[in-house]
Amino acid sequence: MQTVIGQTNPVAIFFFLLFVAVTLAITYWAAKRTRTTKEFYAAGRNITGFQNGLALAGDYMSAASFLGIAGLVSTKGYDGLIYSVGWLVGWPIIMFLIAEPLRNLGKYTFADVVAYRLSQRPIRSAAALGSIITVLTYLTAQMVGAGTLVKLMFGLPYEVAVVIVGCLMIAYVLFGGMLATTWVQIIKAVLLLGGATLLVILTLAQFGFSYGELFNQAAQKYGDKFLEPGGLVTNPVDAFSLGLALMFGTAGLPHILMRFYTVPNAKEARKSVFYATGFIGYFYILTFTIGFGAAILVGQDIIKGIDKGGNMAAPLLAEVLGGNIFLGFLAAVAFATILAVVAGLTLAGASALSHDLYVGVIRKGVSAEKEEVKVAKIATLILGVTAIFLGIIFKGQNVAFMVGLAFAVAASANFPALFMSIVWKRFTTKGAVASIITGLVLATVLIILSPTVWVDVFKNPAPVFPLKNPGLISMAAAFIVGIIVSLATRETQAEAKFEEEKLRTYVGIGAE
C-alpha cells in the first residue's frame, strides 16, 4: 500500500493549526480568569464532575497509550489487551481510597494532605521531590515520543517538533493556568474519543459490524495464537510487580491528583472518577478493536515496516479507511493529545515547585497571593524549558523505561505516604519522610539495575535485579519503612490533630 505518512501533510497541518487556534483563544479567555492561586492551580474550583472526568481521561490517555496500545495489539494480538487492562485498574483504587479524602483535606497538591498534621518543611521537601521526579520522567518520555511521532506524521524535524510542543504547553499553563489546561484536556479527550470511535465504526463496517468476523479473519491471517495470551506474562512475580506499580502508581500521579482540587467538593470529585474510568475503559476497548482492524486491513508487515514498535498502526488504518483527510485528522488529534498531556504534567510540576517548595519550604508557608502566582509562573517557565531540553538530549534514546519509572516512583514514594497520612493516627513526620525517600531511591535504583534499563538500555548481558518493574519491592519497602520509623518515633502534636483530620476526611468540614 502507498502511504503519505512521514511526508508533510497539509490536512494534518490544517487540523492541527485549527486546534492550536482554538486552544490559544481559550487560553486568552482563561488568562483573564487566572489571577489568584485558587484560579491558577485549581481553575477556581468551578469545574463540574463530568468536565473533570473528561479532563482526567484527557490527562491519562496519552499518545503513547493511543498509538502504542493500538500498535501493540496489531503486532502482538491478545497481549496488547492484557497490557491495556493494567492501565485502567488504578482508577477504582483512586475512587475507593484517595479521591474524597484528598479533596476534603488538601488545597492544591497532594503534599497538602501529607503535610496536614505533620511538619510542613520536611514533608513538603520530600513530597515535592517525589512529585518532581514523577513529573520529569513522565514528561521526558512524552517529549521524546512527541518529537518522534510528529516527525513520523508531519515530516517535521525532531527538534522543531519538541520546541513547538514545549512552547505551546508553556503558553497554555503560563497564561491560562489550570482553567486553560482543563479545557485543553476536555477538547483533546472529546477529539480523541470521537476520532477513535469513528475509526472503530469504519473498521467494523468492513466486517459486517461483527466482532466474531473480525476475530475470525484475524485468526485466519495470523493463526489462533493471535487471540491467545502469548509471551507478555511469563514470570508471574514480574507481572504482579508491574501490576502493582500501574495500579497504585495511577493513584500517586501528581497531575492526576491535582485535578481533584478543580471541582467544588468531594461529591463532584467522586463523580469525576466514575466518568473518567468509563471514558478510559471505553477508549481501551476502542484501541483493542483498532489494533485488530489494523492487523487485518493494513497488515503487520506494513505497520512494522514504517515503525518497528507498531506506533503507526492506528494512523495507517485511518488512511486505509478514510484516506488522507482522516489520516490528517487523526495525526492532528495525536499531536493535540501530546500537547494536553505535557501541559497537565507541567502544571503539576510547577505547583510542586511553587506551592510546596517555594511557599511551603522556603517561605515557611507565608506568601502573598500575587507573589505565589508569580512564582508559579516562573516555575512553569523553568519546567517547560527543562522539558524541551530533556526532550532534545534524550533524542533517539530508548525512553520506554521512563514511564515505568514514573509509575514506580508514584506508587512507592507518593502513594504510601499519602495513604498512611490519611488513615493512620500514629504516622509521623520522620516516618513519612523515610517512606518517601525509601520509595523514591529504591524505585529509581532498582529500575536502573532491572532488565528494562540494565539490559535494554545499557546493553549488559544480565540484569542485577530480576524484575522489570520494581513496584512490588519498592512499594512494600516504602510502607514497611514508613510504619517502622513512625512506631519508633512519636509526634503527639500530629496525633492530637488526627481527630480534626478524620472529621474533615469523612464529612468535609473546613474543606477548601
Binding site: I82, V85, F96, D224, P229, F274, G281, Y506, G508
Partner: protein
C-alpha cells in the same frame, strides 16, 4: 445548638456508623478490584490454555474476560458512586446538622 468539639463528634454513634460503613464499602470494593485484576494476571500466568480455549468461532475465552475486567472495574466505581450519592451524603448531612454547621 452549641458547637461540638471534633472529639465529641467522633464519639457520636452516627459518625461512627458513617465512618465504619464508608471504610467497609471502600475495603470490600478495593479487595474486589485487586482480586479481579490479579486474578486475571494469575489466569494468564498459570492457566493460559483456559484463556486460549475457543468460545465461538475464533473468539477465545480470554477476550471477554479481558474486556470484562475493564467493564467490571467501571461497574465497581459506579456501585461506589451510587452508594455514596444515595446513602453516604445523607449520613454526612445528618452529622453536619448535629454539629450545627
Amino acid at each position: 445548638m452549641t458547637k461540638k468539639s471534633a472529639h465529641e463528634i467522633l464519639e457520636d454513634e452516627e459518625f461512627k456508623a458513617l465512618a465504619q460503613q464508608k471504610n467497609l464499602i471502600s475495603l470490600i470494593l478495593t479487595i474486589l478490584e485487586l482480586v479481579i485484576y490479579f486474578g486475571f494476571i494469575s489466569l494468564i500466568a498459570f492457566n493460559k490454555p483456559f484463556l486460549a480455549s475457543k468460545l465461538s468461532g475464533s473468539m477465545t475465552v480470554g477476550i471477554p474476560i479481558g474486556i470484562g475486567v475493564i467493564v467490571f472495574s467501571w461497574i465497581l466505581t459506579g456501585i461506589y458512586v451510587n452508594w455514596a450519592n444515595k446513602k453516604y451524603d445523607r449520613m454526612v448531612e445528618n452529622v453536619k446538622n448535629k454539629i450545627g454547621g
